[in-house]
Symmetry: C2
Subunit: 302 residues, 2 copies
């Protein structure tokens, strides 16, 4: 008994929400999309860009009659967004989201919408840009979307959300929310924290000017500035929502950094070379799996 | 009294050496290039690729009659490379290099070649790939090449090396070797150390499989794997050669990381948001300066 998704509502029209809207328009033209954003300015941009079939000023009105509602707001705003749509939800509506941490979001949504089917989701995709103009229809192509349904989630609702993401170009995995939060702490949250840290460090040294940091950034530093340019509010919320897993992986990182620091101080050439040889293999696997561009330097123009 | 550079010898035909050879061939066809690499295999590949006008099996023979000799070997191999070319050097030859750390290299070259003019150089450019087939003629376009001549270096020799790098497409700066080593510790060496660390950390966690790390790497982790795929021997040598500056900047990074770690543990939302907002500006400056691609996600294909 497959559930049909004919009407989708997207709450939050930033990079991810607007990319979903564009991808639906391009790939599922038979599906009606209504969008809403709490910001009047963002709604105006979405309107001008023709992002959805309809832009609603009111969140409850936006979700009326929707089969699938996707909350695409920072994870700290999920509870409020859920409360705001509650009065307008159809009884059969599936509620999903795109948050980068899942256990906390799932609990917030279950509390705000106790009578609805909730299928939390996380498309592992994005760019460093934000806002409704930054989205594009192919953002999810070949990327993974992870669903973290609760133990009592109906199988047909899980299947409907999975089918929806596959239609957007994504590959779908299903896992436990707590495991998701540990995996993403490693593959996404810790890398962002480290990037934010080093970019801050480099811009505040006395010995080296900011102008020098910028000029000579092609030595490696510029790679870190991309994810350190990601949306500040979104990432503030991720670190607060996934605190335990982030702090646990950070501790492991710190241990490893101390080992390498000691190897440098002691001049332990073999340890350094061994370590650097091991890490090289990981990138080859990522490229072989289609999760990064095989072109050198990410395909940057030279 | 400008010195003419009509014959160039390149010792070491990896990514950088082979890129110099290609760029000379394309942009200075009047300049004769002789190449040498200590590896017979690399010499064979260079030969098949037609990288130089001549590939010499013997380093001293390679530099005979050269006006400019560029040592493009790992910084730990500079002293041996200098000793190997010494018997063949013309009296008027300028010796330069492309090492990523400069004070130690300058001292090693001065010791090995006390009677020659030495103009150390560092083109701040590269990719994660290595070897003679990885080079390309446009690698240095718009990138900075930093010269660190000693106080007694002749002005005409400095000018000749500067002109050479500008002809290859680079912009040239001149600075003190010690300052170079501090600047590059921040913009290149620390980023590589951090990337090598986190890629090692992620691949050795018990809670998360390597397969999961690879699958979900588009969340940010994959950005770090690029520079963690850089040449292990080259980077081993850089950390050993620039130990003091690397350890000093690492200490500053560790302080900042502790501050952010505490902000996460305490739930200090304002501190996190403030920090993440500051770092966003740096990337805009790097793009405005032409030091990175303005396209989202480094211009990766989506």
């Amino acid at each position: 008994m497959a559930r049909g998704v004919e009407r989708v509502a997207i709450i939050g029209l930033g990079l991810i929400g607007s990319s979903i809207a564009r991808a639906i328009t391009e790939r599922m033209p038979q599906v009606a999309v209504t969008g809403h954003d709490a910001s009047e300015e963002v709604r105006g941009v979405a309107h001008r860009l023709g992002l959805c079939d309809r832009i609603a000023d009111d969140p409850a009105a936006a979700v009326a009659d929707a089969d699938l509602v996707i909350l695409a707001v920072p994870v700290g705003g999920m509870a409020d967004a859920a409360a705001a749509i509650a009065p307008g939800l159809a009884a059969h509506a599936i509620i999903s989201d795109v948050g980068s941490s899942k256990a906390g979001v799932a609990a917030a949504l279950a509390k705000a919408l106790p009578d609805h089917v909730i299928i939390p989701a996380h498309p592992v995709a994005g760019t460093e840009n934000s806002g409704p103009a930054a989205g594009f229809a192919t953002l999810f192509d070949g990327r993974w979307c992870i669903l973290t349904p609760g133990a009592d989630a109906p199988a047909d609702a899980i299947a409907a959300v999975a089918k929806f993401w596959e239609a957007l170009g994504a590959k779908v995995d299903v896992m436990d929310a707590a495991h998701h939060d540990m995996v993403l702490a490693v593959t996404s949250h810790l890398p962002h924290l480290i990037a934010y840290t080093i970019v801050g460090t480099a811009s505040e040294l006395e010995e080296v000017t900011e102008s020098e940091v910028i000029k000579y950034s092609a030595g490696g530093f510029r790679d870190f500035t991309r994810i350190a340019a990601s949306d500040p509010v979104m990432w503030r919320d991720v670190f607060l929502a996934n605190k335990d897993a982030v702090l646990a992986t950070l501790q492991r990182f710190n241990e490893d950094l101390t080992v390498l620091q000691q190897a440098i101080r002691r001049g332990d050439a073999d340890k350094l070379e061994d370590w650097f040889t091991r890490t090289r293999a990981i990138r080859r696997s990522i490229i072989a799996e289609g999760q990064d561009d095989p072109a050198p330097d990410f395909g940057r123009k030279h």
